[in-house]
């Protein structure tokens, strides 16, 4: 059952069901290759597929028999069929946690879940996208991997490159949280701090890619971006499979560049078209931090164009002031009856603690943004707490300890029972 009905451009490389690159703006098709922008209109290129004629039941069985990683969905990704046998971090298949305690606090009567992607090998969802980008890098013959990163991606690239035997040289804003700097630097690749914010880093990498200094490098989120982005579809696949092959009614997703939200929607649409889930309405909500909320601001103003901002928020992994996929986030939120909302840094910190206190999940600041926005959406009546809802935690709180640094010891006492009783902590 081919999703793309237009005649595919002949593929000369083995990337499984991927057949071509297709411009999301104008639809022009190009052969599979390390390209990311349309030659006609500069629009972003994404993967077009031919998923073949396998029936839904057979495909579902094949997926369920697959490995406990994103590679169970290899038939739906731009990767070779034998991808699971290659050296990689095998990310994904992270827990979908029934968040009954959090749901009760927020007034849910429908089931609330947290998709906890801090369970990935480098503790963020970035392992999913990097794993797909690396397969494209192998096929296109790159030996050095690179990226512009707000931190999580740099660590994911460093680790994946180490496992797969690539050289890595990654670029981050120089003032990131120490947890992320260490996580990115420990794997032995080169880690370069750029004096500027993420948008400056991104711009630098875009220029480096066209210069002999960066020739022959696979930038996972620049020239390998069409392949990289597809990794986020696996969040959609996993959520539906973990729900028993069912679409959730509402999903809350953090928005930085907007790529993840856009690809989750793409993944849900593919599952519907392939007959793997029943087609029923779902609503997608985007979450931003107030200090970097260009998409939320455009949503609230009724605009379909994003006005870039200079980020100022503790949620540095979401601090992209010029989000390239922002217009698509607006389209999806409006099409599905969702919304895009933002919360202050104070609310982000409170939400990190709320999720930790109620569910035992320690989220990084991006997770705090998502849970904070989830709370706000319920309080403002934008999200229906009687519906089954999934909120995505994309990363681990151990990387952003400074955000909750006031959390600490309840008391410091001498090692005696009297001192313990004196501190008022004894049960009787």
């Amino acid at each position: 059952m081919a999703i793309d009905t237009a005649a595919p451009v002949t593929a000369t490389v083995d990337l499984g069901p991927a057949t071509a690159l297709s411009c999301r703006e104008c639809g022009t098709r190009f052969p599979l290759g390390p390209s990311f922008a349309c030659l006609e209109c500069f629009g972003p290129l994404e993967i077009a597929y031919d998923f073949g004629s396998e029936g839904a039941e057979e495909l579902r069985k094949r997926i369920e028999a697959g490995p406990a990683s994103i590679w169970r969905y290899a038939p739906l990704l731009p990767v070779p069929a034998d991808v699971a046998t290659k050296p990689n971090l095998n990310p994904g298949w992270t827990p979908l946690v029934k968040a009954d305690n959090l749901g009760r606090e927020l007034g849910f009567t429908g089931q609330l879940h947290i998709k906890d992607d801090s369970g990935n090998p480098t503790h963020s969802f970035k392992d999913r996208v990097v794993a797909c980008a690396i397969e494209a890098a192998r096929v296109f013959g790159y030996t050095t991997l690179s990226c512009s990163s707000t931190g999580n991606l740099a660590g994911a690239v460093g680790a994946a490159a180490a496992r797969a035997g690539f050289r890595s040289c990654v670029f981050i804003p120089h003032d990131l949280e120490q947890g992320k700097v260490v996580m990115a630097g420990v794997y032995g690749g080169e880690l370069v701090g750029i004096e500027g914010n993420y948008d400056d880093v991104n711009r630098f990498c875009s220029e480096l890619i066209g210069d002999p200094a960066g020739e022959g490098w696979g930038f996972v989120n620049v020239n390998l971006r069409p392949y990289y982005g597809e990794g986020s579809k696996t969040l959609a696949y996993e959520i539906c499979e973990q729900l028993g092959w069912r679409l959730p009614e509402q999903i809350v997703i953090p928005v930085a560049s907007g790529s993840q939200l856009t690809k989750i929607d793409k993944g849900l649409q593919e599952l519907i078209k392939l007959g793997l889930v029943e087609d029923r309405p779902y609503r997608i909500f985007g979450a931003q931090a107030e200090g970097c909320s260009p998409v939320s601001a455009a949503y609230k103003a009724g605009h379909d164009v994003i006005r870039p901002v200079k980020p100022d928020t503790i949620a540095k992994s979401l601090a992209i002031g010029n989000p390239a996929d922002g217009p698509y986030v607006l389209d999806i939120a409006r099409r599905t009856g969702g919304a895009v909302e933002d919360v202050t840094d104070v609310e982000v910190v409170a939400a990190i603690r709320l999720l930790a206190r109620t569910e035992g999940i320690f989220a990084e600041t991006a997770g705090g943004v998502t849970v904070g926005v989830l709370k706000k959406l319920v309080e403002t009546g934008q999200l229906d707490p009687s519906k089954e809802t999934v909120a995505i935690n994309t990363g681990d709180g151990l990387k952003t300890l400074d955000a909750v640094s006031e959390a600490g010891m309840t008391a410091v006492i001498r090692p005696t029972l009297d001192a313990f009783r004196g501190a008022g902590l004894a049960s009787a």
Binding site: A37, C41, F42, S148, L153, E207, V222, A324
Partner: protein, 91 residues
């Protein structure tokens, strides 16, 4: 005013493969018009049918995104460095 314009890989077919070209103009719009005179067809790749910067094109004048300045009306001083870059998502 004379500026130095960095050309992204996907537009170098218009500049004979050259990655940096000179162009004249007092504003960004005038610089793009001058680029078009010397490299026919390039303006239609940067601007949409209504003459605005395309949605997925970022232009920087001396490190500043022109969307934070005056867009196509952004003043170009002599010796300015201009970069044209495809917008890229992902962090």
């Amino acid at each position: 005013m004379s500026a130095n314009v960095r050309i992204p890989t996907i537009l170098r077919t218009y500049t004979g493969g050259v990655s940096e070209v000179p162009a004249e103009g007092a504003t960004l719009g005038e610089v793009i018009a001058d680029l078009e005179r010397n490299h026919a067809g390039i303006a239609a790749r940067i601007l949409d049918d209504t003459g605005k910067l395309r949605r997925f094109v970022n232009v920087y004048v001396n490190d500043d995104d022109v969307r934070f300045a005056e867009g196509l009306e952004t003043e170009i001083k002599d010796g300015a460095n201009i970069s044209i870059i495809p917008a890229v998502a992902g962090g």
